[in-house]
Symmetry: C2
Amino acid sequence: MSGPSTAGTRPDDVRRHNRAALLRRLHVNGPATRASLATALGLNRSTIKALVDSLAEGGVVEERVPARRGGAGRPSLLVLPRARAAVVLAVDIRVERAGMALVGIGGEILGRGSWNVREGIQQPEEVFTKIVDTSGPLIDELAVRPVAVGVSVPGVVRHSDGYVHEAPNLHWSDVPLGAWLSRALGLGVHMGNDAELGALAEHLRGAARGSGDVVYISADVGVGGGVISNGVSMRGAGGHHIGEVGHMVVRPGGLRCYCGSYGCWETEVGEHALCRALGIDENSPVGTIVAELRAMPAGTVAGRLGEYTEWLALGLCNVVNLLCPQLVVLGDLFTALPKQLVARVEQLVRERSLVSRALGGTRVVTSALGSDAKLLGAAELAFETVLAGC
Amino acid sequence: MSGPSTAGTRPDDVRRHNRAALLRRLHVNGPATRASLATALGLNRSTIKALVDSLAEGGVVEERVPARRGGAGRPSLLVLPRARAAVVLAVDIRVERAGMALVGIGGEILGRGSWNVREGIQQPEEVFTKIVDTSGPLIDELAVRPVAVGVSVPGVVRHSDGYVHEAPNLHWSDVPLGAWLSRALGLGVHMGNDAELGALAEHLRGAARGSGDVVYISADVGVGGGVISNGVSMRGAGGHHIGEVGHMVVRPGGLRCYCGSYGCWETEVGEHALCRALGIDENSPVGTIVAELRAMPAGTVAGRLGEYTEWLALGLCNVVNLLCPQLVVLGDLFTALPKQLVARVEQLVRERSLVSRALGGTRVVTSALGSDAKLLGAAELAFETVLAGC
């Protein structure tokens, strides 16, 4: 990002900003001494003391003697976030199943719920009812009060109010799910595109930790992209996520896609395409696909999945040329791709992408959080506002 | 953009930030009363007074009675930036020519220089020498002292030091032009990709004024993209620009591109492709291409440029799906495309792009700044640091 803003800053904002920054640091990076917090935030120790004392008074953090001592002298106290001081409800809606979790400060999963969709399509109203009906008992069981809700949806979502414009693989369009949930649960509901939230989670807690410029590619039936730029989620017009990569046309005149176009990248590398490349039924369950991938002798990968690898690399070259990441994280089903296939894709991207060459080679890796990435990302989306208000 | 930062803020930063914000406001939006500045910046009038007084003392702004009075009573003084209080040297390097200008605060072009490249390729050393040799007399003639330099290059450029990794259509790679210029001119040199700077200029002073999320497409021999997100230039890893759209593969197995790939969008819609579509020599000068486009009877456009229109739309659908702009600005040669062709492309993008549909339709327009976009963008890049130091 570049370019200064034209908005003024009031000194009143500073304290609130610093308090949120400190809590966010603890939330993302875990327990820390006051001294290391002072260094990390670029603030003096008396400012840090005042902030920690005020957060401790509110029960949001506590201070403890660390378990292991380093060196001589009195050990420095560690500042820890208290997981239950603020809990969010995270929901991950997918084509074939949905999951939810209650997540505390620091990213700890306190409890989970889920349901499967065995036949046909999940109607929006059903999903809404399931979320409400599943979350109630979970909240009671754990005896917590969530303060916000984060929801991941595989589609184009308006951030301001969680309006789902279009979720092609769910066959949803114009669903005001955010408003429904907000009314039913009586909480702030924050909704985002699934790949955007996967990117956020991998950046904060997964394979992209420490990388500021990242593209995460989600891959179930649909293929999506989420972009982290300079450490924050990149959004476009109307606050919508950036990186609807699955619907990039890479094969003009190719197969028809759910979205209405022909030859979308999703139709060449998504779940169905992977099944075709493996020579198994297009509608095979994920477990079968993963088992098939794991059972492949290393020597057969290049031959059997050669053309698939080319399509994966072609789309990723475009993604890297357009979005300029230092790291690409392949999520969901792609996590199960054979290592030598991923290495080959990385090599092709480095050779063919002008931008990758300029960057000295983009890294391509598989997800560290696997199927939890979107759920954890939904929690982080909810935490963005929660931490500022603690 | 989303996601709070984890950096602390010191109250000392506030005054400097506000001073730069006020000057930036005047630079971009032109003369304004103190009252309107207070409203625009969200600061109180005594703070504005102190800032204006201090800038006026430094000779950076002045206050004047406006030429026309609105209503009764004493007219409010207008605060004006003084163009010559800070002047930057802007340079626009292209394949067939290069231009430069001295630009003052407020965006006023005080004087220009240029040179043409009649035969063959511009060697980096030649371009460097030309810049130095042309700028000296221009600076003397205008009796100004530029305080920074901005340079536009059609390639992948490292922002930190103006290192040109690759500029395929110039046949440049690994050129430390920024360091050369900085040493020779004794000034801070800020370099950027040409399309990125075109986007910046159109956003601040052209067709994209008031639009926060914009993609600008440059089109000479090469095709490039620049992205403004939430009002600022979007950058990826290493501070490189985002949107190398010309090298997005849209026709696997298509023509070989300069970049080494096959079937890049640039080979389907760039200057040479447009010549082929028009049935004229691929190496026709720009003037001939523009004349040919202007002479086309409206009724013949769909027939003669139908396939070209499809390729343009296909790539733009991908661009909109990946980058989520509310507005696409077609620059350079594309500015001369027939109106009905641009309208048809806009219609196809609205129909076919999932993201455009969600946004209620992306607008597609031609550049307002035309061939000056990149030059003015280079000036703005230089001003980003200059204004903060005034």
